[in-house]
Amino acid sequence: MTDQSQTPAVAAEETRLLPSDEILKGLIEPFADASWATSAGQDVITLPADQLRAFGESALQGGFELLSDVTAVDWLSRQPRFDVVVNLVSLQHRRRLRIIVQTDSDIPSLVTVWPGANYAEREAFDMFGINFVDHPDLTRILMPDEWEGYPLRKDFAVGSVPVQFKASHKVR
């Protein structure tokens, strides 16, 4: 259902799947490359990366006042590699919305739209190495400043230390 590599191809056709309710339809229609799907009963909109900020601004005007979460997923063997996932909440319409954007490294920052995205984008940068363009302070937030590597990437090992139990003959 949420095979992300499929939905953009569908959106490129003229007859794209539009949601039936007015709020979402009004949000998606101006964006020709946006596509809508449902995932486990929740609305998901997929967009090209460079339209994220414009869509965010229109979503804010459209009633999604609260940015719930910005995070990322590393699909190692796929091009583009990362999924940046933005979860929005509308207090007046009482609904949630998810935006998924695919990127290799650069993506516009949402800090100018929702200032609450500040720390979350820093964390996504720290953990994945995704560059949020126009972020006011894109530095490491959870790891020490001089840490090398991006821990949540799939090619970064867990870093576990072999454990020797006193009575056992082999090292776990």
Binding site: S39, L66, V73, R96, G116, Y119, L142
Partner: protein, 447 residues
């Protein structure tokens, strides 16, 4: 007689000190580098200036950067604040976090879905049942299974008791930080009764790993109704007492009213949820807006504040304790009979006795506990109302026994963004009260 060397007494710092300066910085300051040529000549006497027209380059940047933490007596964990002070007034604040980063999201990818709650429960360690509940709901949403009503009511009972115990800690640390040290002992004393009930039910006082995908790990212990009744009686009587003690207290009011104010628009812009948002007057509680686990059948109110200051946040939490007590009472009364976990055998392990009797039960047990049950591919985001705000879990599965990506939307992580706003242009002494009222849990912030 040797001629005395021409020592220019006014140029200091050009001689090397004859003690070891590598381990200390005593005496290593060079005065000459800050002296301008004009000052030098003036001191030597070659130039005479009137003090009135003396135009020294006084830096107007009288700001000082002070570092608070990460090891700090204020018991909110390892938070480091870099505060730019102008006298006693705070101009800018930068919280530095990451001192408790445990790599829990990476660990979550290594543990099976059944083991997941052990990991997430340690994120917000004061509201451990909420973490487990959120994660379990996300897994169940992907699995497409429903938990039986008894499991849901047990979950509501435990999470609301957890909310009471978390708010008691918030009240305790809030009081202690402001100076009412006895509130600390009162808060922890009443919490002990709730923790004793948790220990009876789940086996541990904190970090329970009790709410698992499919239901709960075990049924409630015999005699639980009497325990819950005793807890509620105690809480209702005592919390009202503590509230009476502090509500009209002039010292408490002086230290908390008008301090750490945040407006509703700022809250929404900075993604702040929970008691902080409600103290600013915004009626947003996920238990009412997007109800889950059957909580809509219970009657309770959502307390709101008006001014968004520390006093309002304290009152909102006290009222939430009393409202949660109402929910617990109703849940205890309405506890349905039935299974405490889903009977889908692929997901929940069979009862221990059946393992000796049936080969299938043994195989299921083995597969669930070693490989883990497989969750269909998909992604979902589920949020619950934790004592700190919207606690969400974004779960991505690719059809294996372990999550592909598990991310927690931590309420304290976002609530910390309110700190620079609340502390701007306020006094340094109000910092402690403000941080305490935000009630951040660093396990949640850093994960």
């Amino acid at each position: 007689m040797t001629k005395s060397k021409d020592v220019d007494l006014w140029i200091s710092g050009t001689e090397e000190p004859d003690w070891d300066t590598s381990t200390t910085d005593e005496g290593s300051q060079e005065m000459a580098s800050t002296e301008t040529d004009y000052r030098l000549r003036e001191q030597l006497g070659s130039v005479v200036t009137d003090d009135y027209v003396f135009d020294d380059e006084i830096s107007d940047d009288e700001r000082m950067i002070v570092n608070m933490g990460p090891q700090h007596p204020s018991t909110h964990g390892v938070l480091r604040l870099q505060i730019e002070l102008e006298g006693e007034i705070i101009r800018r604040t930068k919280p530095v976090i990451g001192y408790l980063h445990t790599g829990m999201e990476k660990t979550g990818e290594e543990l099976t879905f059944m083991q997941g709650p052990t990991n997430v429960t340690r994120m917000d360690y004061l509201a451990s049942f909420h973490n487990e509940h959120c994660y379990s709901m996300a897994v169940e949403r992907l699995l497409g299974i429903e938990v039986p009503p008894r499991a849901n009511t047990i979950r509501v009972l435990l999470t609301e008791l957890n909310r009471i115990s978390s708010h008691l800690v918030a009240m305790a640390t809030n009081g202690m930080d402001i100076g009412a040290v006895s509130i600390m002992t009162y808060g922890f004393r009443d919490r002990e009764q709730i923790l004793a009930f948790f220990e009876k039910t789940s086996g541990v006082r904190m970090n329970h790993n009790f709410i698992r995908p499919g239901g709960v790990a075990a049924d409630l212990p015999p005699g639980w109704r009497a325990d819950v009744k005793a807890i509620l009686e105690n809480i209702r009587r005592r919390v009202v007492d503590y509230d009476d003690m502090l509500k009209e207290n002039p010292i408490w009011n002086g230290r908390t009213r008008g301090v750490g104010v945040i407006t509703p628009e700022e809250c929404l812009a900075y993604s702040i949820t929970g008691p902080t948002l409600r103290s600013a007057g915004v009626d947003w509680d996920l238990r009412k807006v997007f109800p889950y686990a059957g909580i809509e059948q219970f009657e309770f109110e959502v307390p709101l504040g008006t001014r968004g200051d520390v006093y309002d946040r304290y009152r909102v939490r006290i009222e939430e304790i009393l409202q949660s007590a109402r929910i617990v009472e109703q849940a205890a009364e309405a506890m349905p009979k039935g299974d405490y976990r889903s009977d889908d055998r692929k997901v929940t392990p069979p009862p221990r006795m059946r393992i000796d009797q049936s080969m299938e039960a043994l195989i299921h047990h083995f597969k669930i506990f070693t490989e883990g049950f497989r969750v269909p591919a998909g992604e979902t985001y589920v949020a619950v109302e934790s004592p700190r705000g919207e606690l969400g879990c974004y779960l991505v599965s690719i059809g294996e026994g372990k999550p592909y990506r598990m991310h927690t939307r931590a309420p304290s992580f976002y609530n910390l963004q309110a700190l620079p706003i609340m502390m701007a242009d306020s006094l340094l002494a109000d910092t402690i009260a403000t941080i305490a009222s935000l009630d951040p849990v660093m396990g949640d912030v850093d994960r």
